[in-house]
């Protein structure tokens, strides 16, 4: 699944930190993880700064559901 929401990105960031805390990493591996982590942290920051509260009504939401199944 694509990590698009802030929550998922934060979770990915935390996973990356956890992996980086493990031993037995090569210099290349840890460099990649570090770069990945910094990238995720930046994206998290951007997501937090840009968001606007999204409000919909239940009726609209229910219309979007496919009940055919």
């Amino acid at each position: 699944m694509e990590n698009n929401t802030f929550e998922e990105k934060l979770k990915s960031l935390e996973n990356t930190v956890r992996k980086l805390e493990e031993n037995d990493l090569s210099l290349d591996q840890s460099k990649e993880l570090y770069k990945e982590g910094i990238k995720l942290a930046k994206e998290c920051k951007i997501l937090l700064s840009k968001t606007e509260l999204e409000i919909t009504e239940l009726k609209k939401e229910l219309e979007d559901i496919d009940f055919s199944e």
Partner: protein, 403 residues
């Protein structure tokens, strides 16, 4: 003459004030039989409640509840307050809710339902689900026109705008409310929602009553999505609060519960970034240490090699020593030989009177007389002289007669 004089309006005003100031007359239950019911198109209901001796005029305005219990001759319990109908100077009971007498009072019904549902396990702590700390999508069950939804939106806007709200516009007061609330909960359960908030502003026990209805309680219990109940003020407790996974003291408090503080999240990202730095630096440090340890080992290896050289040297010395010893031995042996040879010194033998005898024909040294025949010429030598002799006679006993 009395000291005070009233006009009719002054008197009705005075009575109205007196009633308002009374500690019982502003909220009480009136029990009796319904009579003279009149229900004009305005939606208000005019009637009287009477017993064997007295009769009190009553009104139930259209926003009140329990009008289905109004029927001439019915025994009812009406909740409400006293007032004065000023145009006629009549005292009048303003009813807010009508219950048929069989139902008992609201408080009694609350207690009965509470103990019944409690016995059925609807309030069990063990079934309470955890409220997600960082929900993505939140369903709000409340009226979309009230101030409650605005309070909730304001709090979320300030703290955590990274959220999707689905507002289920719901009647939260009156006869239709319980049905509307259960429908909203059930519909929200069809959506991919992380948590549902049941919200309603403060009000009387009657206003909040829909949240004490059994069908609402059962719907909350049935919901697959965790539910936060935020009904009325902090002091108000409803059955919904007891069944819900979490009770928030107010709707604004519920909004805070579902929205983590954005400042905290920024701090969290910073902390994780620092964790990254620390871990990465630790790895680099570790690699650097390993590198230096290797360097040290290389240097040490050189030293070890020197030690080996030393060992080899000493080994060589040892080997040389052994070799030397052997040489000495050889030398020693040689000396011994020399001594032996000295013992065999020919001069010494000759000086003792021994001579070397050889056959003249082939110069062979004569070690035995077996092959010597009569007439053989023999050379007899010492170191300096040789004489030639002829064999004259060979004795069997080995004696030779020379000439």
């Amino acid at each position: 003459m009395p000291d005070i004089t009233f006009t009719p309006s002054e008197l009705t005003n005075y009575i109205y004030k007196k009633i308002n100031q009374d500690k019982y007359l502003n909220s009480f239950q009136l029990i009796g039989e319904v009579s003279n019911l009149s229900s004009p198109p305005s939606g208000h209901h005019y009637f009287a409640i009477k017993d064997d001796e007295s009769l009190i005029k009553c009104v139930l305005f259209s926003r009140g509840s329990g009008k289905e219990n109004l029927k001439d001759g019915n025994q009812i319990i009406a909740e409400g307050k006293m007032s004065v109908y000023q145009p006629r100077g009549e005292i009048q009971f303003i009813a807010e809710a009508i219950h048929s007498q069989g139902e008992g009072t609201l408080q009694q019904r609350f207690e009965e339902l509470k103990s019944s549902l409690e016995a059925q396990g609807l309030f069990d702590e063990s079934r309470k689900r955890e409220i997600p700390k960082m929900p993505k999508k939140v369903g709000i069950v409340t009226s979309k026109t009230g101030s409650v939804i605005q309070d909730i939106i304001n709090v979320i806007q300030r703290r955590y705008p990274n959220l999707k709200l689905v507002i289920a516009d719901t009647r939260v007061q009156g006869d239709e409310a319980a049905k509307s609330i259960t429908e909203s909960i059930s519909s929200l359960n069809k959506l991919d929602i992380d948590v549902i908030v049941l919200a309603r502003g403060g009000g009387s026990i009657e206003d909040l009553w829909p949240f004490n209805e059994e069908k609402v309680a059962r719907e909350i219990f049935k919901s697959k999505i965790p539910i936060i109940s935020a009904i009325g003020h902090e002091t108000d407790f409803t059955i919904s609060d007891l069944v819900a996974d979490l009770r928030a003291p107010t709707p604004s408090a519920a909004a805070e519960i579902i929205s983590p503080d954005i400042d905290y999240l920024n701090e969290l990202i910073l902390l994780r970034t620092r964790d990254l730095e620390i871990s990465f630096n630790a790895i680099l440090e570790n690699l650097k240490n390993r590198f230096f340890i290797s360097m040290d080992r290389i240097v040490n290896y050189k030293i070890e090699t020197s030690i080996n050289n030393y060992k080899i040297n000493s080994l060589t010395n040892e080997i040389i020593n052994i070799f030397d010893n052997n040489l000495n031995e050889i030398k020693y042996k040689l000396e011994n030989y020399e001594i032996s040879l000295n013992h065999l010194d020919v001069n010494k033998i000759f000086s003792k009177g021994f001579f070397l005898t050889q056959l003249k024909s082939d110069k062979s040294i004569i070690k035995s007389f077996k092959n010597i025949k009569k007439g053989d010429h023999i050379l007899v030598s010492n170191l300096n002289e040789t004489l030639e002799a002829e064999t004259i006679k060979i004795n069997d006993k080995g004696s030779t007669d020379g000439k």
